[in-house]
Amino acid sequence: MASYILKRLMSTIPTLFGILTIVFVMIRIAPGDPALAILGDNASQEALDAFRERMGLNDPMIVQYWDFLKDLASGSLGVSMVTGKPVADSVASVLPFTLELAFGAIFFGIIIGVPIGIISAIWRNGWLDYFFRVVSLLGLSFPAFLTAILLILWLSIEWRIFPVISTPTGGGLWDRIYNLILPALSLGIIMVAYIMRSARSAMLDVMGEDYIRTARAKGAPGRRLIWHHALRNALIPIVTVVGLYFGLLIGNAVLTEIIFNRPGLGKLIVLSLNQRDYTTLQGLMIVSALMIVIVNLLTDLCYALVDPRVKLK
């Protein structure tokens, strides 16, 4: 196991380097002069020169790249072009909100998606199966903003169960969870659809396996067969789904945050877009790519843990 983990860790290094390089190059090829963009057309020549010097924009590209990597190695994402504050700090202050939203969505996805998927698989091609399949297709076609708008209309405005704008006000844990439910549900709809589909097909796969037939032949009752023998193995692919769609989830989380006016990566992204704060954007790109890499790594490790065959490959 240890050697597998090490090997898997090593294999992420080239990917990480590539990601960092792509982000670095993208920012540098951006048209327009960042100094001019930040300080405005009326800025004096001295101010522009000072800004370029401070941001290291006068150095040769290769020196800038080296500084960029050196900073990253020490955990720094540079300073914001606009506020001058460390990017890592502003990202770190909003990241927990996005993460709790993403995990909330995964939570809803699992508690709703898994049972529906199993029901669909058990009564395959029955009317319930068709119904759930159509619903799941609808669920994964819903644009994030439409889900959010409809949920706000029904649950916040019509029924007044949840607040329209879910800004966690720092209050207690309950307050935080209460404010999280609606956005997490809104973001979770798509996860419900994906998890339902994968639970269904995994369950169908497992039900066709020889050992299930053996158990059935030995007279295991239907319910025990499903809960005891099939379900455990059918749950494994769900880990993959969560890993696979984590990127999508983070992207949709950005939109959900904007609509619900929640703090998080989404609002920070929009703010830095509007201010043309390229260094903050760069930091945000790196952090979100890093999250995906880590989630993929964890997915693979989970897989190796539950399925010993993976390690041998």
């Binding site: 990917t15 590539g18 990601i19 297709l137 076609s141 209309l153 983070i250 950005v254 904007i258 954007l281």
Partner: protein, 290 residues
């Protein structure tokens, strides 16, 4: 796993096969018809639209449905239905252009990687892995933000984000195909690698790629809507669905329909493509076939 045989299980004429598929999968056929209707509505928008999408009528602002304005009006009293028709043009044009571009480039890369193997394969696939590591929407946002929001850049951003998925799907069957006798034979006849890849391998992976294309076109259309929702769409006053939703969002309390109708327009396009893709996948993947 999936080889040529599963794509063409029996020798039937294409028309016959399509008819059989349509009868077997009513939901997908419905999706296809829905998609075609939407495409036609978008193409003929100037003929169908009851109003000029840019014409303002301040006296009739934020109205709900009426015989005059089928889907109501927005903040400036512009006709929502006409704006949706014109918005669909942008959505479909950007979504389909970027999907086709991603399909061509991605498949070319995937086939080259699979066919050549060795270091070429490693380099191409590592690059694809890197691109896959970026969340698609955030990457799209980043590219458009850095390069500027216009038609070409939005298409570029979406193409780059979905290209790796095509490369992966094209690569796997290529590896299996290149060992087959007919490729072997083509090589023995002295055909160039380029010709073998283009004429012998590519046609055999079309099935899988088309399924993927319909699903990713749905995704591309959604990304375009998301980008314009965030404010990185094609410049106003050209109506785009995302911008309409965002503008209407300010009136979520008093006139929610302003953003709901364009929202449903996005949903219908995406749903129709997903229905088609789902049916195609069921038809092609023998594992899912009864």
């Amino acid at each position: 796993m999936t080889t040529v045989d599963t794509i063409n299980p029996e020798k039937r004429s294409t028309g016959e096969q399509l008819l059989r598929l349509a009868r077997k999968n009513k939901l997908s056929t419905f999706g296809l018809i829905m998609f075609l209707v939407i495409v036609l509505a978008a193409i003929f928008a100037p003929l169908i639209a009851p109003h000029d999408p840019l014409e303002q009528n301040i006296l009739a602002r934020l109205q709900d449905r009426s015989p005059e304005y089928i889907l109501g009006t927005d903040t400036f009293g512009r006709d929502t239905f006409s704006r949706i028709l014109y918005g669909l043009r942008i959505s479909l044009l950007i979504g389909l252009t970027s999907t086709v571009l991603a399909m061509i480039l991605g498949c070319a890369l995937g086939i080259i990687a699979g066919y050549r193997g060795g270091w070429i394969d490693s380099v191409i696939m590592r690059c694809m892995d890197m691109l896959l590591a970026f969340p698609t929407l955030i990457t799209g946002l980043f590219i458009v933000a850095v390069l500027g929001a216009n038609f070409v850049n939005i298409v570029l951003a979406i193409t780059v984000t979905i290209l790796p998925k095509f490369a992966r799907v094209a690569r796997a069957p290529t590896i299996a195909l290149k060992e087959r006798e007919f490729v072997e034979a083509a090589r023995a006849l002295g055909f160039s690698d380029l010709r073998i890849m283009a004429l012998h391998i590519a046609p055999n992976i079309v099935g899988e790629v088309v399924v993927l294309a319909s699903l990713w076109a749905a995704y591309a259309i959604r990304i375009e809507a998301y980008l314009s929702f965030i404010g990185l769409g094609v410049a106003p006053p050209t109506p785009t669905l995302g911008t309409m939703i965002r503008d209407g969002f300010e009136h979520i309390l008093d006139a929610p329909f302003v953003s709901i109708y364009p929202g449903f327009a996005v949903l219908l396009v995406v749903l129709s493509l997903n229905l088609v893709g789902d049916g195609l996948r069921d038809a092609i993947d023998p594992k899912l076939r009864d």
